[in-house]
Symmetry: C2
Subunit: 405 residues, 2 copies
C-alpha cells in the first residue's frame, strides 16, 4: 500500500476506449490498496487542433490567450477519465490547474511550477478518492491559466508526485522502459531495471526521447522515484532513481546517439585572448546552442576551432560567422552535416578509469575516425561520420558488456 501518481500521455487517452483502458489500470492500483493520483494529457491530436486554430487566427498571438485555448484539451480528458473511473465503481474527481492550484510563474506558454499545496488532495486520497489532474496547466500569480510548454504533462506528474509525497511516479508511454541503447539499431539492447537521474538526464538530452529533461531534473531535485512503462503492455518498466538505490552499478549503463549535430570548423583563428568569446557571443545572442568545442594547439600564432551546433541552426550559424568575419579574422569556414554524436553514459565512470580509452580503442578497431571528443563526469561523447552510427553503437554495446544473453 502506497501513494502513487500515474501519468498517461496523449496516445494513451486518444479516444474513449483508451480512456476506459486507463481507468482499468488505475482501478488495478486502487484495488491493490494504493492511494492514486492520475495526470492526463490531451487526447492525441487535440492540442495540435487547438494550436492550429490559434495560428489560423493570428500569426503573432498573446500567449495568455493561447494558454486559455490549449488548456481546454487536458480539461476535457480529466473530466472524461473521472467519469470512466466512476463508471467502474472507483471514486474520482477531476482537478484543473487552477483548482489544485498548481501555482506557476507568469511565463505563459512555458511556465514553471512554483508551488502546489497538496493537503486537501492528500486528505481526499486518504478517503479513497482518486484525483485526476489535468496535466500541462497551472495558474499564474494574477489568476490566469498558464501552460508548461510541450511535454509539460511529464513535469506536471513529477511535480504532483513531489507535492503529494508519493512513493512513485509512473509515466505510462508507448515504450516499455529505458534501454541500454536504441533497440531498433542494436538487437541485443536490454531494458534497464533501474537507472540514475543523472544518467537519465544525459540520455534524455542525448536523444532518448522518453522523458522530458525538465521532468527528470525536477524528479532529481525532489527525489521522486519515476517509473517509465508501457500503457499497452503489463510488464514492469524502468525505475529512474537515486544512485543510492542501485546496488550493483554497472560502469556504463547505456550508449546514446544524436543525429541532430552539425560540425563547424574555423581555420587559422588568431590565437589570442578574447577570440573564443568574440566568436561564440553572436551565436549565443541569436539563441544558437553550441555543444562540443575543441581548439587545436597553436601553430604560428593561429589555431583551428571546431564546434557543433544543432543541424537546424547550422545555416544561421554560418551566416552569422560570415557577417562577423572581419572581427575574428579566421581563414575559412568548413561546415559538415554528415556527423553523429555517440555517447557512453554511466555514473560508474566516476570511480572507474579507462572507460574513454576503451571507447577510443573499440572505434579504432572498426576503423572509425573520431572527429571531436568531449567528456563530462559521467559521459564520454565522440563525433564521428554519420555512416558509422550503427557499427559504432553495436561495437560499443558489446565492448561494455551490455549485450543481452
Amino acid at each position: 500500500m502506497a501513494r502513487i501518481v500515474m501519468k498517461f500521455g496523449g496516445t494513451s487517452v486518444a479516444n474513449v476506449d483508451r480512456i476506459k483502458n486507463v481507468a482499468r489500470k488505475v482501478k488495478a492500483e486502487v484495488d491493490a490498496g494504493n492511494e492514486v493520483g492520475v495526470v492526463v494529457s490531451a487526447m492525441s491530436g487535440v492540442t495540435n487542433e487547438l494550436e492550429g486554430y490559434v495560428r489560423e487566427t493570428a500569426r503573432l498571438f498573446d500567449l495568455r490567450e493561447y494558454d486559455v485555448v490549449v488548456a481546454a484539451g487536458e480539461q476535457i480528458t480529466s473530466g472524461l477519465l473521472a467519469i470512466a473511473l466512476q463508471e467502474i465503481g472507483v471514486s474520482a474527481r477531476s482537478w484543473l490547474g487552477w483548482q489544485v492550484p498548481v501555482k506557476t510563474d507568469d511565463a505563459h506558454g512555458s511556465a514553471r511550477i512554483q508551488e502546489i499545496p497538496g493537503e486537501e488532495i492528500v486528505r481526499r486520497m486518504g478517503e479513497g478518492q482518486v484525483a485526476v489532474f489535468a496535466g500541462f496547466q497551472g495558474i499564474a500569480p494574477d489568476g490566469r491559466i498558464t501552460t508548461l510548454g510541450r511535454g509539460g504533462s511529464d513535469t506536471s506528474a513529477v511535480a504532483m508526485a513531489a507535492a503529494l509525497e508519493a512513493e512513485r511516479c509512473d509515466i505510462y508511454t508507448d515504450v516499455d522502459g529505458i534501454y541500454t541503447t536504441d533497440p531498433r539499431i542494436v538487437a541485443k539492447a536490454r531494458k534497464l531495471d533501474r537507472i540514475t537521474y543523472e544518467e537519465m538526464l544525459e540520455l534524455a538530452s542525448q536523444g532518448a526521447k522518453v522523458l522530458q529533461t525538465r521532468a527528470v531534473e525536477m524528479a532529481m531535485k525532489h527525489r521522486v522515484r519515476v517509473q517509465v512503462l508501457s500503457s499497452f503492455e503489463d510488464t514492469p518498466g524502468t525505475l529512474v532513481v537515486d544512485e543510492d538505490e542501485i546496488v550493483e552499478q554497472e560502469v556504463v549503463s547505456g550508449i546514446a546517439y544524436s543525429r541532430d549535430e552539425a560540425k563547424v570548423t574555423l581555420t587559422q583563428v588568431p590565437d589570442k585572448p578574447g577570440v573564443a568569446a568574440a566568436i561564440f557571443g553572436p551565436l549565443a545572442d541569436d539563441h544558437i546552442n553550441v555543444d562540443m568545442i575543441v581548439q587545436n594547439v597553436s601553430a604560428d600564432g593561429s589555431t583551428d576551432l571546431t564546434f557543433t551546433v544543432s543541424k537546424n541552426d547550422l545555416d544561421r550559424a554560418v551566416k552569422l560567422l560570415e557577417e562577423h568575419r572581419d572581427e575574428f579574422g579566421y581563414g575559412e569556414i568548413r561546415a559538415d552535416k554528415n556527423v553523429v554524436k555517440v555517447s557512453v553514459i554511466g555514473v560508474g565512470m566516476r570511480s572507474h578509469t579507462g572507460v574513454a580509452q576503451k571507447m577510443f580503442s573499440a572505434l579504432a578497431d572498426k576503423g572509425i575516425n573520431i572527429q571531436v571528443i568531449s567528456t563530462s563526469e559521467i559521459k564520454v561523447s565522440v563525433l564521428i561520420a554519420e555512416e558509422y552510427t550503427e557499427l559504432a553503437l553495436r561495437s560499443l554495446h558489446s565492448t561494455y558488456g551490455l549485450d543481452a544473453e
Copy 2:
C-alpha cells in the same frame, strides 16, 4: 458612447473565419466609442462532440464532470476571439466563468446565476479593454465549474449586461429580429422594432425560438434592454424593452403558434370537489406539464374535462390516467394529436376590449372550429385542428392590421 454587451451563438463563431468576422463587428462598436463586453458560445458542433464523448464514457454520469468537459467549448472560443480582436488592434482579454467569477448555485448541468461582481471588469472596460466572456459557464460555491444548461449563453449575456449595468445587450443570431408572426408562413409578416418583455416571454414559450425564456425573464427582472439581430446582416434588429419605452403600443404585437400540443378529453367526470386535483396530481408527479384546461358545465352530476399536454408526453399521460381510472371514475379518454395552439399576443389588450371577440369572429369567418380557449392578461390562445394553421395565422395577421404594406 455607451456600455454594451454583445452575444454570439455557435453558428456565429463556427470557425476561425467567422470568429474574425465577429471581431470586426466588435471593433465597429469600439470604434463608435462604446465600452464592449462580448459573450461567446462554443463553436457550433463542439458542445455536441464533447457531450458525445461523455455519453460514450458512461450512460449515467456525474454532472460535475460533465460540466468540466463541456465548459471547455466556450473556453476555446473566448481565447480565440480575444486573439482575433488583438490581431485587428483591439485591446481584449478572455474571462472564464471562474475568473469573473460568475457565481452560481451547485445545480450542475443547469445551474442558476446568483451573483456577478463586475467592478474589475467595468474598470478595465473603462480603460478600453474588451472583455470576452466564455458563456454558458459559472462556478459553484465549492469552486467547481458549472454550466447553465442548453441555451445558457443567452442567459450569461443578459446576466453580464445586468452586472455591468450595460445600456443594451445585443444577441446576435441567425435571424434578424422578432417578427409579427412566422415569416415562413405569412409572407406579410413584419419585423418589429420593439417588443415588451412580457410579449417576448409569451412568444418564446409559444414557440418563437429566438431567445431563451430564462434570458428574457432575467432581462425583465433586471430591466436589461435586449436587442435581437443578425450576425450575418448589417440591419437593426428588434429591441426587447420595458413597456414604458414603447410610445405607440399596438393592441396586438404578434401571432404565435405551437404544434407541440396534444388534446386529452375525459368524458363523464364526476362533478364533485377534489376531482381536478385527483386527475392532475399524478401528471404533475410525473413532471407532465398541463397547459390549457377547460371544464364544461355539469349535466346530471358529471362533466367533460379537456386539457392539453406536450405531444411528447401524450402517451405517458394517457397511460397514467388509465392506471388511475378507478379513482376518478370517468367515462372514456379521447386523445388527439392533430391540433395546434394559435395565440394572439399584445400588452395593449390590458386596456382594449374586444380583442378575443375579434379573434373568434375571424376564425369563424374562415369556418375554423375552436376546440379550447384560454386567456391571460396579454394573450388569447385557441386550440384548432392542425390543418388550419396557415389559414388561421394569415387571417388573424390581417385582422389585427399587422400585414406589411
